[in-house]
C-alpha cells in the first residue's frame, strides 16, 4: 500500500454536531499533502480525528495499513503520528526543553537521558536551542509555533500533522517555517499533512493539495490544478470575490 494515512468515508464531530461527512483521502509516503478549505469546513476536526481526540461515528482511519479509528491518542502517537495545534498549546509551566522531553519520553518511548538527546536535536532543528530553559509560557507566537513543531518531532513521527503553523506570522517568519517544513520532508523523509490558509505557501510547498468543503473532500490533486479549478474558486475564493464586489 502506498498510503501512510487513509480516511475511508469518515463521519465525525463533537456531540451531536457532525463536522466531517463522508471524508475520504489518502496521504502517500514521503508526500506533503496540503489541506485548504473555508473556515469551519472541518480541517482541524480532521486532525482531531487523526490523533484520536474524537472518534469517527462511521468510516475508518487507516495508518500504515492498520485501522486506528478506535485507538487512544497515546497509542496513535506511539505508532508514529505527531501533531501540532493551530493555537499553540505548550505546557505553560514547564521549560521549553521539558515540553519536548515529554514527547520524546512519552511519545517516542525513550528514557529521559536518551530523550534529552532527541529533544536537543528537535530544538536545534526548530531554532529553539537558546531558549531551552525558558518557561514555555513566556515565548512569543513564532517561538510557540516552533515549539509545537519541536514537540511533534520529539515523538519521532512518521506522519506529521501541521495545523496552520504559518498563520499569524510575518512574511520572513513564514519563509523560515516553509524552509523548515521542506527540510523535514527532504532530510527526514517525513510524510506531512499541512493545513494552511496562506495560499501561496500551499502551491509552492506541497506535492498534492486537498480542498475540503463542508466536511467532505471537494478536490484532491496537483496543487496548481486544484487552486485553478472552478469548484475551489467557488467555495474558497468565490465568497471573498463577492465581498470585494459588494464593497
Amino acid at each position: 500500500m502506498a498510503a501512510l494515512l487513509r480516511f475511508e468515508h469518515v463521519d465525525a464531530g463533537y456531540g451531536n454536531v457532525r463536522i466531517l461527512e463522508d471524508l475520504s483521502f489518502e496521504a502517500e509516503y514521503g508526500q506533503i499533502l496540503g489541506v485548504i478549505g473555508p473556515n469551519g469546513c472541518g480541517k482541524t476536526t480532521m486532525f482531531n480525528a487523526c490523533i484520536g481526540h474524537i472518534t469517527p461515528t462511521s468510516g475508518h482511519i487507516l495508518f500504515d495499513g492498520k485501522d486506528i479509528s478506535k485507538f487512544s491518542p497515546a497509542k496513535r502517537v506511539h505508532m508514529g503520528i505527531g501533531r501540532t495545534y493551530q493555537v499553540p498549546r505548550p505546557f505553560e509551566n514547564m521549560s521549553v526543553f521539558e515540553n519536548v522531553l515529554v514527547s520524546a519520553v512519552h511519545g517516542a518511548g525513550h528514557t529521559e537521558r536518551q530523550g534529552a538527546r532527541i529533544a536537543e536535536e528537535a530544538l536545534g532543528i526548530t531554532g529553539l536551542t537558546e531558549k531551552a530553559e525558558l518557561i514555555a509560557g513566556s515565548l512569543t507566537l513564532l517561538d510557540r509555533k516552533r515549539l509545537e513543531i519541536a514537540r511533534a518531532l520529539g515523538t519521532e513521527p512518521k506522519l506529521l500533522l501541521l495545523d496552520e503553523v504559518a498563520a499569524g506570522l510575518i512574511e520572513t517568519e513564514i519563509k523560515d517555517i516553509m524552509k523548515l517544513v521542506a527540510d523535514l520532508k527532504s532530510k527526514r523523509g517525513l510524510t506531512i499533512v499541512w493545513i494552511e490558509h496562506v495560499i501561496e505557501t500551499m502551491v509552492g510547498a506541497t506535492d498534492a493539495l486537498m480542498c475540503i468543503s463542508e466536511g467532505h473532500e471537494l478536490l484532491i490533486g496537483d496543487p496548481r490544478a486544484v487552486m485553478d479549478s472552478r469548484e475551489v474558486e467557488e467555495v474558497y475564493l468565490g465568497a471573498s470575490d463577492e465581498e470585494v464586489n459588494a464593497a
Binding site: R83, P90, E92, S95, E98, H106
Partner: protein, 339 residues
C-alpha cells in the same frame, strides 16, 4: 552530585534526624508531641491532595473517603475483632486503594469541577451508608478499643515515618517518567495525550497512591482521636484542611505542604478557643494569602529567588552531561491563576 545539592541533602538529613531525636529530650511534653503528630498527619494529607491537584490537575473534594474508610477499618478491627491497630490501618489503606481503582472508571470520565463534585458526592454517599449500617453502629459511631492503647510518642514516630515516606513517594513519582507526564497533563491534558502520555494510567497511579497514603493517615488520625462518627469521618472538612494547607504553602511545590501544615495546626490550636469563629478566621486568612501571595508562601519565595528546595525540573544540561543549569523564572509568565 554538585556542591549545592550535597548541602541540601545534609540539611534535609539533619532535620529528619532532629525530628526523631528531639522527643527524647526531657523538655517535650505530651502536648508538644500531639502537635508534632498533627503537623505530620496534616502535612501527609496536604501532600496527597497536592499530588493530585497540584501535579496532575485532579482537584479532589473527596479525600475524606479514604480517611473515613480507614478510620472505620481501625475501629472495626480493634473493637469488633480485637486485632492490633496496624492490621486495621493497612487493611483500611488497602481498601482505599481498591476503592480508588473501582471509582476511577466513573470519576476519570469527568474533568475539573465535575470531577471535584463527583468525588464529594461519593464521600457523602459513603457517609449515608455508614450512618445506616448496623455493623458499624449506624450514626452512633464507634469507639476504638485497643489494649494497650498506643501513646502519643508511639503515634508521633509512626506519623513522622509516614510523612517522610509520603515525601519520598511524591519526590520519586515526580522525578520518574510518569511525573514528567503528570506535569504536562496538569498544564494541558489533551495536548499531553497528543504527545503520547497515557492519561488514564498516570491519573490512576496518582489516585491509588493518594488513596493508600491518605488511608494510613486517616487511620492514625482516628487512633489518636479514639472514636469515629460517620459525619465528621466522611466530612468535607478533611479536604478543606488539605486545600488550605496546600494553597497557603504553595500548590505544585513539594515543600509547600510542610509550611501549610505547620501554619494550619498552630492556627487551629490557637483558634479552638474561639468556637464558631475559627472557620471564618481561617477562611479570611486563606483569602488574604491567595490575594497577596498567589503561589503560596513557598511558591512565592521560590519564584522570587529562582530556587527550589526540592526540584523536579529537568534541564538539558543536566540530562545530557551532569551539573545544574538555572531556569529563568523571571521571564516566565504563570497561567495557573488565569486559567
Amino acid at each position: 552530585m554538585s556542591k549545592s545539592s550535597k548541602i541540601r541533602v545534609v540539611v534535609i538529613l539533619a532535620v529528619v534526624i532532629a525530628l526523631y531525636v528531639i522527643p527524647q529530650s526531657p523538655l517535650t511534653t505530651d502536648n508538644t508531641m500531639r502537635i508534632g503528630l498533627l503537623i505530620a498527619l496534616y502535612c501527609t494529607l496536604g501532600l496527597m491532595w497536592n499530588l493530585m491537584a497540584g501535579y496532575t490537575g485532579m482537584v479532589s473534594l473527596g479525600q475524606q473517603i479514604f480517611i473515613g474508610i480507614a478510620g472505620y477499618n481501625v475501629a472495626v478491627f480493634a473493637t469488633t475483632f480485637g486485632l492490633p491497630f496496624w492490621a486495621g490501618m493497612f487493611c483500611g489503606a488497602g481498601i482505599s486503594v481498591l476503592l480508588s481503582v473501582a471509582l476511577s472508571f466513573l470519576l476519570f470520565r469527568m474533568k475539573g469541577m465535575y470531577f471535584a463534585i463527583a468525588t464529594w458526592i461519593t464521600s457523602e454517599a459513603l457517609k449515608i451508608i455508614f450512618t445506616s449500617w448496623e455493623f458499624v453502629n449506624m450514626g452512633g459511631g464507634m469507639t476504638i478499643k485497643l489494649r494497650p492503647y498506643p501513646d502519643v510518642f508511639e503515634l508521633y514516630y509512626i506519623s513522622l515515618t509516614l510523612v517522610i515516606g509520603a515525601f519520598l513517594v511524591v519526590f520519586f513519582v515526580l522525578n520518574s517518567r510518569i511525573g514528567l507526564g503528570l506535569k504536562a497533563m496538569r498544564d494541558d491534558d489533551d495536548a499531553s495525550a497528543a504527545m503520547g502520555v497515557n492519561i488514564f494510567r498516570a491519573k490512576l497511579l496518582c489516585f491509588m497512591i493518594s488513596g493508600f497514603v491518605t488511608g494510613l493517615c486517616g487511620a492514625l488520625f482516628y487512633i489518636n482521636q479514639g472514636s469515629i462518627f460517620p459525619g465528621p469521618g466522611f466530612g468535607i472538612s478533611w479536604t478543606v484542611a488539605a486545600v488550605f494547607i496546600v494553597i497557603i504553602g504553595g500548590i505544585g511545590t513539594i515543600t509547600g505542604p510542610i509550611v501549610g501544615a505547620i501554619i494550619y495546626v498552630f492556627l487551629s490550636e490557637f483558634l479552638s478557643q474561639y468556637q464558631g469563629y475559627s472557620m471564618i478566621i481561617l477562611g479570611v486568612i486563606a483569602i488574604a494569602v491567595i490575594l497577596g501571595l498567589p503561589y503560596g508562601i513557598v511558591g512565592t519565595i521560590e519564584r522570587k529567588f529562582g530556587f527550589e528546595v526540592l526540584s523536579t525540573r529537568r534541564t538539558m544540561k543536566n540530562l545530557l552531561s551532569g551539573g545544574r543549569a538555572n531556569v529563568d523564572y523571571s521571564r516566565g509568565r504563570d497561567l495557573r491563576v488565569s486559567k
